[in-house]
């Protein structure tokens, strides 16, 4: 029978484990959702605090990884919504992005740093749920795990991932085509 983490020591232990195992994944989530350095630091801190608070009710019904990803992505989605209200920038579905790479960029050789910048730009154009799917996919989660984190059906995640893979390959190999 799953039980909440209960004591503060349990929560501390879980938090320390989450930092050790998923610290860089959590940082990448913040990085992909906020370009401004100062605001990114705030978002990272918000994720840290929410994560620590959340372990008071962690009941072990899902894996630690799923829990960490859910908390971090939920905080990031709220952040994106708040920022979107101010920026009036239009965000897109994966299906609405036809060209992940500018023809100008496609014509030249790109180094890894430039590819990463383009990848971050692509992710920054996406609506929160599609953004989460791409980020979770890039972090190496499989379709079932992504479905568990997002709450979308496995088949729906599969369709989204298929589309995301095409965009990612196009982005990485754009200069060859």
């Amino acid at each position: 029978m799953p039980r909440p983490a209960g004591t503060t020591d349990d929560a501390d232990r879980l938090f320390a484990r989450a930092l050790a195992e998923f610290g860089s994944a959590r940082a990448r989530i913040a990085y992909a959702n906020e370009a401004d350095r100062a605001q990114r630091a705030d978002l990272q801190q918000e994720i840290y605090l929410e994560l620590w608070r959340s372990f008071a009710i962690f009941d072990g019904r899902c894996s630690l990884g799923t829990w960490v990803y859910r908390v971090a992505h939920n905080m990031a989605a709220r952040h994106v919504t708040r920022q979107h209200r101010l920026s009036h920038r239009e965000l897109l579905n994966l299906e609405e992005i036809t060209e992940p790479i500018d023809p100008h960029d496609a014509a030249r050789q790109l180094d890894d740093e430039q590819r990463l910048a383009l990848l971050n730009k692509l992710i920054g154009q996406l609506k929160p749920l599609d953004r989460q799917i791409v980020l979770l996919y890039l972090d190496g989660l499989d379709t079932a795990q992504i479905s568990e984190v997002t709450g979308l059906s496995v088949s729906h995640v599969g369709v989204k991932i298929h589309r995301a893979k095409r965009l990612l390959v196009q982005l990485y190999e754009g200069h060859h085509s």
Partner: protein
Amino acid sequence: MTDHDDDPIKALWRAQSTEVPAMSVSYVRHRTSELHRTFRIRNWLEQGSTILALAACLFVILVTQHPWVRSGATLLLIGGAYAMFQWRRRTASLSTEPSQSSVASIAFYKRELELKRDIHSTLWRWYLLPLAPGAITILSWNFFGDSPTKGTLAPWGVLGMLVGWIVFSVIYERHKATQCQREIDALSGMETDTGNPPGK
């Protein structure tokens, strides 16, 4: 296209430098307790000031023999208690689990924003309006009754402050409601087809 075509970009993504700031468990615990303390102090201040105001009304009711003042204070006491009850009822209805799935979390966040918007846009009706009868009675006594301040500038000063406070409150609450609505609109514009049946 094979399954492994995008492996290099996955590897690149995972290898990127993200400038992870160091944050220890003790620091996070300290920050959380700080936030809780700030929240508790704000709650005490809000509730404390309302209780003080209600206690002052009760004191006036018990001490004064003047019917006009007494009825004004009674109306203020009833209006204030009603406003306090409504405030608590409307602000304490939603609570969420931080680890809900993204779809559930986003839906919850939207409902939370709608609730906040409704609180801000209707606040005048259930917070300001119940206080009006008491305030009008007390002011009427100052203007038309046998108040020692009748004929002086004091009642006008009080009236001016009251009107200023009401106008400021209404404008501020409208602004907050508009902010919530903008965020709801932004959220609606960002909704993805979830592929799940409605309500799931």
